[in-house]
């Protein structure tokens, strides 16, 4: 398998987005206006949260596509972006006044998994409790999205049966430090993420 790297412009901003996540950005700096015009005709761009663990060997970013744009109340350009993949960035060197590019490599994340109804392996009881938790998280999330003006605009579908999607959105939305959210990027961290979300939202394991 080839070491598929791609050259993409970098947008340094501390926003945590997993695949499937949508965010609204305000673009007024000229170098980022340029980034936007490049991105619309090309391959999107990478959102890179600057406050990552400096100890980490590899930096990561969210590879996004622009899915919509508009003008904010103060006349500033607002773009809606959707994350399609996470990427590894091996060499980040942010300059102050210029647009940065980096060679990045996409990697798969648990949030991109699909679930198959495969109930034979779990006991009926544990499956039931898992289902209850999930449906609580799902309902709670769709309520949250619906009741928040901005989220409601950004997410066309307020809900998804896919547990990976649900947990990913919760991790993005919960008020926990970015350093903590970073833990759910590289390792096979879905179960930790699920436990965390459940203990906060459902008050259960």
């Amino acid at each position: 398998m080839k070491n598929n790297t791609i050259d993409l412009p970098i947008f340094p901003i501390s926003i945590f987005l997993l695949p499937g996540g949508v965010a609204r950005l305000r673009i007024f700096e000229p170098r980022y206006l340029k980034l936007v015009s490049m991105a619309t005709s090309g391959n999107g761009f990478v959102i890179y949260a600057k406050d990552q663990d400096p100890q980490q060997l590899k930096s990561w970013g969210s590879w996004v596509d622009i899915i919509n744009f508009d003008k904010g109340e103060d006349g500033v350009l607002e773009i809606d972006v959707k994350c399609k993949s996470l990427v590894e960035i091996s060499d980040v060197n942010l300059r102050d006044h210029d647009l940065d590019f980096a060679e990045v490599r996409a990697f798969t994340h648990w949030s991109q998994k699909r679930v198959f109804t495969h109930r034979s392996q779990k006991s009926a009881r544990s499956q039931k409790s898992a289902d209850t938790n999930l449906s609580t998280l799902n309902t709670s999330l769709s309520l949250l999205i619906t009741n928040n003006a901005l989220l409601n605009k950004l997410y066309e579908s307020k809900t998804d049966d896919n547990p990976y999607w649900i947990i990913a959105r919760w991790i993005e939305l919960l008020p926990i430090p970015l350093q903590v959210k970073n833990n759910f990027i590289f390792e096979s961290s879905y179960s930790d993420a699920k436990k965390l979300v459940n203990s906060i939202i459902s008050n259960s394991l």
Binding site: F69, D74, E172, P175, N183, K195
Partner: protein, 209 residues
């Protein structure tokens, strides 16, 4: 909250700047704009119109193939200039910068109407054309000190406002919002978060053994 001064990207432009604007003209334009704001001076507005309309027309013609649309841009922009002149602050920048900002927003609105047919709304084409008109003006009013002051002010804003100014809407709830959402006291939310994070720390510690 005002966003930091935009300096437009440099790129190849298709419009030659035939009009170098000097200091006297800047002052004159400022005065006219202020006259419109203060006393609704029609003469001043006529001068402004004479000055800006052809320029706006030229820029709009480059952006819209349709003559009628270009005219609409001129009309809309100058109407807004008339109506919103009181928002112009001569201390904060050039009259040209202000008027071209109004024009830019008008162009945006018009582009949005036809956006479904055009993928290239955000192409480089819009900005370099305007930038070429503004380059000389901006140099006169660039103030690094002002930018630094502005940045310090931004740091003291409440976080949600900071995020908006810096460039994004925070895609995260506050603890307050979480409390409201779950219909629980804030204290309960805080302890839940604390416990959950502590538990996670232990789990991650175990995972790494």
């Amino acid at each position: 909250m005002i966003a930091v001064q935009t300096k437009l990207p440099s790129s190849v432009s298709h419009v030659k700047s035939k009009d170098m604007i000097n200091n006297t003209e800047h002052t004159q334009l400022s005065e006219w704009l202020t006259a419109v704001a203060d006393v609704r001076c029609k003469t001043a507005f006529t001068h402004l119109f004479t000055f800006f309309a052809p320029k706006i027309q030229r820029i709009a013609r480059n952006k819209f193939p349709n003559e009628a649309q270009a005219n609409e841009v001129v009309q809309e922009t100058m109407t807004k200039v008339w109506r919103k002149a009181h928002l112009f602050d001569a201390d904060k920048g050039a009259a040209t910068t202000w008027v071209y900002t109004v024009m830019r927003n008008v162009i945006f609105d018009l582009l949005r109407k036809v956006k479904s047919n055009r993928e290239d709304n955000l192409s480089d084409d819009i900005w370099p054309i305007v930038e070429n008109e503004l380059t000389d003006d901006d140099d006169l009013y660039e103030d690094h000190l002002e930018n630094k002051k502005l940045l310090r002010v931004i740091e003291h804003l409440p976080e949600s406002q900071q995020e908006v100014v810096k460039g994004f809407y925070l895609m995260e709830m506050s603890q307050d919002q979480l409390a409201t959402h779950l219909n629980l006291p804030l204290g309960t939310i805080k302890s839940r978060l604390r416990l959950a994070l502590a538990k996670l720390k232990v789990q991650l510690g175990e995972d790494n053994d």
